[in-house]
Symmetry: C2
Subunit: 337 residues, 2 copies
Amino acid sequence: MGASLRDVAQRAGVSVKTVSNVVNGYEHVTPTTRAKVEAALSELNYKPNLSARNLRRGRSGIIALALPELDSPYFAELARAMIKAAEDAGYTVLIDQTDGLLERERHVLAGIRPQLVDGLIVSPLAVGREELAARTDDTPMVLLGESVFEGPADHVAIDNVAAAGIATEHLVSIGRQRIAAIGVQPPDGQGTARLRLQGYLDALGAAGLPVEEDLIKQGETFHRKDGVKAVQELLALPEPPDAVFCFNDLLALGAIRGAHEAGVRVPEDIAIVGIDDIEDGQYSTPSLTTISPDKDQIARLSMEFLQSRMAGDRDAAPREVQADFRLIERESTRGRH
Amino acid sequence: MGASLRDVAQRAGVSVKTVSNVVNGYEHVTPTTRAKVEAALSELNYKPNLSARNLRRGRSGIIALALPELDSPYFAELARAMIKAAEDAGYTVLIDQTDGLLERERHVLAGIRPQLVDGLIVSPLAVGREELAARTDDTPMVLLGESVFEGPADHVAIDNVAAAGIATEHLVSIGRQRIAAIGVQPPDGQGTARLRLQGYLDALGAAGLPVEEDLIKQGETFHRKDGVKAVQELLALPEPPDAVFCFNDLLALGAIRGAHEAGVRVPEDIAIVGIDDIEDGQYSTPSLTTISPDKDQIARLSMEFLQSRMAGDRDAAPREVQADFRLIERESTRGRH
DNA sequence: CTGAAAGCGCTTACAG
DNA sequence: CTGAAAGCGCTTACAG
């Protein structure tokens, strides 16, 4: 294969140590020596063996990012931000796609790739709080997404209750009275949905609007198709809603599509708002009002937490931080009816 | 940190070799010995050090996937398929996001992470054929995307000329006469655009339609915003087109949005077709007619090529394979005007 | 400023 | 079936 340090050392007529010094940018090397070594280095097209280096150094410079799915735009956009933030910090990212499956999330938490990955950023869907807390692997970890973990590890998220509240409130503010929700999960489902439901209910209460069971719909996988289906059921109701708060943008885009298919106008007949601010929502017809979490900030904060843990600060109490978000008004909630 | 093989060996009262045998599932181990070892293994919560194993074995089980951007839906969907295919083959994927920048693509080709990655799947945008051919790093590599490489490495792609031809032809078949194109690149731009332009021109020729310079628009970054801008320019023409072939779905979705903003109906006034079959196109209003490349097949073929190279078949002539694609008709080209 | 040597944790011929 | 030992390629005290 490629040349080793020893090959280079031989060719340059110096010791392995000296070559290593040059390769690693150690300052105190005679110009002459350095020149000789560098010549040999490039003649042999030397590339360090990273496995060996990692073994010796006890670190790899790789962190794993475990996400439910890479082709859901929110996660894709988050992954981009994360890869960028990791790179700025000198790390590269390895991605694990869990599909939100319990089995796979467990596998990640138990430590796939021991000693190959210096840290872990995980967005769990299936695994619960207790299991997270009972983790035996000691690779530094940062949690993403929900906000009901209560301390098994550092955690970065937006305030989901508040975000959902603001989205719902916005629908109230434009004069809507029958506000539906799409994205509720079965009782054992993910916490994000529970928190967003909470925010929705809080906002209805604050506005003095009644809660109607019929207007609260499940969104099993948080994908467009669930949004289509749910909105169709809502529109088939004897007294359909005049607005929908969708627990994410994909559901909302599905809802827009479903309304269109049913011949119902958005926003005139039904206003729609989502959460995530994925790019699609800027270009859909109508464009989508949404809550925009600061993805770059989430990425940056996650890396900061992870870095401090990787740097040795393992025992400090788990930290919890909430990233910024803001409401972005677009066509799907414009105007009154 | 964690326990090493030696720790386990001591505890079990056997040699390191025996523990290694058990860990690696070597068959010929006495049940008694195995039991002892397994007990020690779980008592110490042993996890193999992958860096050490990789160093020794000379392989890592990791392949790198270098894509322009992870948050472009086509690449996100392709990445998902690739991660899946790699996993089926026992590999994990590390993603490099090049942003299509020459500098970063070069870095990938020169071998970032030497010996840490067994193989490379690259979708180059900026780097040209000559440079690919002149690569010095000998990590096995598979190329994705264009089809004008002519042999520097194994290559998987769809037949872009044919795909563009079929898309254009479809517009002809529904009676359109003034068919525009969006997505042309500056002369030194990527080959994909050149090939799709070729297919477009071929189809116009075959249909006996004239080529009009005014109807051929650039699409610098292949993103939605370029589609919006280009379609607006087209619609401002004294004699606007009645159809547009967009070189990818993102451009097409932008074009739909742009037409909507201009008060022009799709498909009645202007029919639109794209390439990629990203999920958004199923749910847009109107839904998008497109060419669907078989992404799973692309992923599978790439892995097969890569595996054969990684298995040692380094010197065989570079292979070229074309993945399947098909036209999917949706609302954006339905009906005649 | 440079060298000789140990050792990171593993796998693998080689013996027995 | 199991053990003792070498070595993958690197980094890093330790000398000098």
